[in-house]
């Protein structure tokens, strides 16, 4: 599949001073997204406010729907009509969108959901940060499926990763979730938007087959089917029911197995190819902090403080959190003399459990939790690093047990 570059009409090339929400909007526009449906919710609303201002001048529209259920399915109607489309929300709205994330996964609708995370549960802390929707992003809709979730840690990355999210959604025909947090959404920094020809855009996988040969859900070698849009004479069918390669409902064990396995495998098999990590001082590190989004910026300082004390600490920051970069994590954990991992996140343990599962008891994994509302202090993460690096006499309980 050949990549193309961005349509210059949507690209605000230049150096800007933007917050993460605004940069996310620019990322969507640069990707060719010309349709957004949304429902206002703090702290995500600025994304669509900017979109509503910008997009009528470049050939698109923002549609404010009556609720998040409507927004999250209207965008999919637009996708099947040929648009690139996204929606943005935060915790309570994200909960309402869950059914339609599952629908997008099942119908292989390429689209992007942005969640600017705030403190929860329920109404929680509407204006303050958290990273507590990470497992909901992964598993929140019913049934078995896989999605892709990205976590930017700066306004620049809100731009970059939103472009990347659209590209991944088109490549794998899967809903991609941009899991920002209130801090990243509302912090203002320099954002450089490159010229359009420097921004790669993955084109929709439109079928080249004639209608009589086309099967809407017949996968190609990479397990992804070709796309047809409404209005082109393909007369195809799309359903959230278990369906065969024609897209027709077929409720039996074999079809279910074949379909669900493919939906999962098309993502899982590419986890390593998709991995995009920032690595800081990992070369000789024997304690590695895993953090993403805003927390990674605090963790970076904690790693520097540990180094000042002579502790060989490093940082692994996944930008693609789901699927998790399993291979890289296992490589690190397999090093001789590796002391352990610290997972710092603005929740009471979510990505932590994935890390714990992946290293399967081979090295200690320490959680540095935070219930949200603000970010960690670097000293908190530093303490965890020091605890992790301290020599332990044989027979001491495993660190992860101590930490809870």
């Amino acid at each position: 599949m050949k990549r193309t570059h961005a349509d210059p009409a949507g690209v605000l090339t230049g150096t800007h001073f933007l917050d993460g929400d605004q940069a996310c909007c620019e990322g969507a526009l640069a990707s060719g997204c010309r349709f957004a449906a949304g429902y206002p919710i703090t702290p995500s609303t600025e994304i669509v406010e900017r979109f509503a201002q910008r997009v009528p001048q470049i050939g698109g529209m923002f549609l404010q729907m009556e609720d998040e259920l409507a927004a999250s399915i209207a965008l999919q109607g637009a996708v099947w009509a040929g648009a690139k489309s996204f929606t943005v929300t935060s915790g309570p709205g994200f909960s309402l969108m869950m059914e339609h994330i599952g629908y997008a996964a099942m119908t292989e609708t390429p689209c992007v959901f942005v969640n600017v995370q705030r403190g929860g549960p329920s109404t929680g802390l509407p204006t303050l940060p958290a990273q507590a929707d990470m497992m909901q992003a992964r598993w929140g809709s019913h049934g078995d499926y896989q999605i892709i979730a990205l976590c930017p840690n700066s306004p620049q990355e809100c731009f970059d990763l939103t472009v990347h999210a659209f590209n991944l959604s088109e490549q794998y025909r899967v809903p991609v979730l941009v899991m920002m947090d209130e801090c990243v959404g509302h912090m203002t920094e320099k954002v450089v938007i490159p010229p359009a020809e420097k921004i790669e855009v993955y084109p929709r996988r439109y079928t080249t087959l004639p209608p009589n040969e086309y099967q809407a859900f017949k996968a190609e070698d990479d397990l992804v089917p070709q796309f047809a849009r409404a209005g082109e004479g393909y007369h195809f069918h799309v359903t959230g029911l278990t369906h065969d390669e024609h897209g027709y409902p077929s409720m039996n064990v074999e079809t279910q197995h074949r379909l669900v396995t493919r939906l999962i495998d098309k993502i899982r098999r590419n986890a390593d190819a998709m991995a995009r990590n920032e690595e800081y001082r990992l070369d000789d590190a024997d304690v590695v902090v895993i953090a993403y989004g805003i927390t990674a910026r605090v963790a970076m300082r904690a790693v520097q403080m540990a180094r000042e004390q002579g502790v060989r600490a490093g940082l692994l920051r996944p930008m693609v959190v789901w699927p998790f970069p399993e291979k890289r994590l296992r490589e690190l954990a397999a090093r001789n003399g590796f002391a352990g991992l610290v997972v710092a996140e603005l929740n009471c343990g979510q990505v932590f459990y994935e890390v714990e599962r992946l290293v399967a008891g081979r090295v200690p994994v320490l959680l540095e939790p935070h219930t949200g509302g603000t970010v960690h202090r670097p000293e908190q993460i530093l303490d965890a690093i020091l605890k992790c690096s301290a020599p332990r006499p044989a027979g001491t309980p495993a660190l992860q047990e101590v930490s809870r």
């Binding site: 001048q57 050939g59 529209m61 729907m65 109607g77 040929g82 648009a83 007369h235 359903t239």
Partner: protein, 303 residues
């Protein structure tokens, strides 16, 4: 007699003599038999819809059908058009996104009363308010057929359902009145008995710009009729025939349906009102002037 025996017993050459069924081209015959019960009214309405499409002379490549969940939600799977079987209650917002992203499409929402008016009720009133150009066809069989005959927002007072075993005591929605109040530009009601009038109405709705609403009162012999001891599909058709009163232009507040009571049918509303896209274009042009690039998202994407 089995199907094979019937074919064997048929006079030779009969198949060639039969004219092709004019609606066959609209159906995915490879998916037959359909899931609907014997005596169900939904198939009749699909026949009317197909004939209306045939008469409309619309380019069938530009017609999309969107359904929600339920017995009527399965219509999308049987029509040989671009068709979308969405989530429960959300056919209208899906159709809204589709129509606005590509205004060249004629987007028909075909679903049931529970789907469109209960779980999807909020979307229904907002789409009517916006006057989004989608054609809503609502099969009202007074119950949730797919899940076994539970109380619907249309179940008449005193009717038995599986979740009102002692009789319904909630006031049902008067769908025509709801549609008109929320802003629909075209509102009609027919029953499955009125196939010609219904076909004509669907044709009118397909040609009309804006949010159109056709309620089709239909029978559910398996659950609603059986449980209420009011006969089978044919008995219900006879009831529709006897109890229906054609009153074009009737005040919609007076067309509520009581249990086995009179059914006012006809075209109640047919007004002109600018659509969502008309108003958007007008306002954007007024404000942005030459900076406004038009609303056709899809053209841009294709570019």
């Amino acid at each position: 007699m089995t199907e094979e025996q019937m074919i064997a017993a048929a006079p030779e050459g009969l198949a060639e003599e039969l004219p092709p069924n004019p609606v066959e081209q609209f159906l995915r015959s490879e998916r037959m038999p359909h899931i609907w019960c014997p005596g169900c009214g939904i198939g009749t309405t699909v026949n009317c819809f197909s004939r209306a499409l045939l008469q409309s002379k619309l380019d069938l490549n530009k017609v999309a059908v969107v359904s929600g969940i339920g017995c009527t939600g399965r219509v999308a799977g049987y029509v040989n058009l671009d068709s979308f079987h969405t989530t429960h209650g959300r056919a209208i917002p899906f159709a809204t996104g589709m129509k606005l992203a590509n205004p060249d499409l004629t987007v028909v929402v075909y679903s049931g009363d529970g789907d469109l008016i209960s779980i999807g009720g909020n979307h229904f009133i907002h789409a009517a308010r916006r006057n989004v150009d989608v054609k809503v066809i609502c099969i009202n069989n007074f119950t949730y057929g797919m899940t076994g005959g539970q109380l619907a927002p249309t179940t008449p007072v005193t009717a038995i359902s599986s979740t009102t075993p002692y009789g319904c005591y909630e006031q049902p929605f008067n769908l025509a009145n709801l549609a008109e109040s929320a802003g629909a530009v075209y509102v009609a009601r027919w029953t499955t008995y009125h196939v010609r009038q219904l076909t004509h109405s669907i044709g009118e709705a397909l040609r009309k710009k804006g949010f159109t609403f056709i309620e089709i009162v239909s029978q559910c012999p398996t659950l609603y009729e059986r449980r209420n001891k009011i006969g089978d599909g044919l008995d219900m058709m006879e009831y529709f025939k006897e109890a229906s009163v054609v009153k074009h232009g009737a005040a919609t507040r007076e067309v509520g349906i009581g249990f086995q009571g009179p059914i006012v049918v006809g075209k109640f509303v047919d007004i002109e009102r600018p659509t969502f896209l008309d108003l958007m274009d007008k306002q954007m042009t007024r404000t942005l002037d030459a900076h406004y690039t038009g609303s056709v998202v899809e053209q841009n994407v294709r570019g």
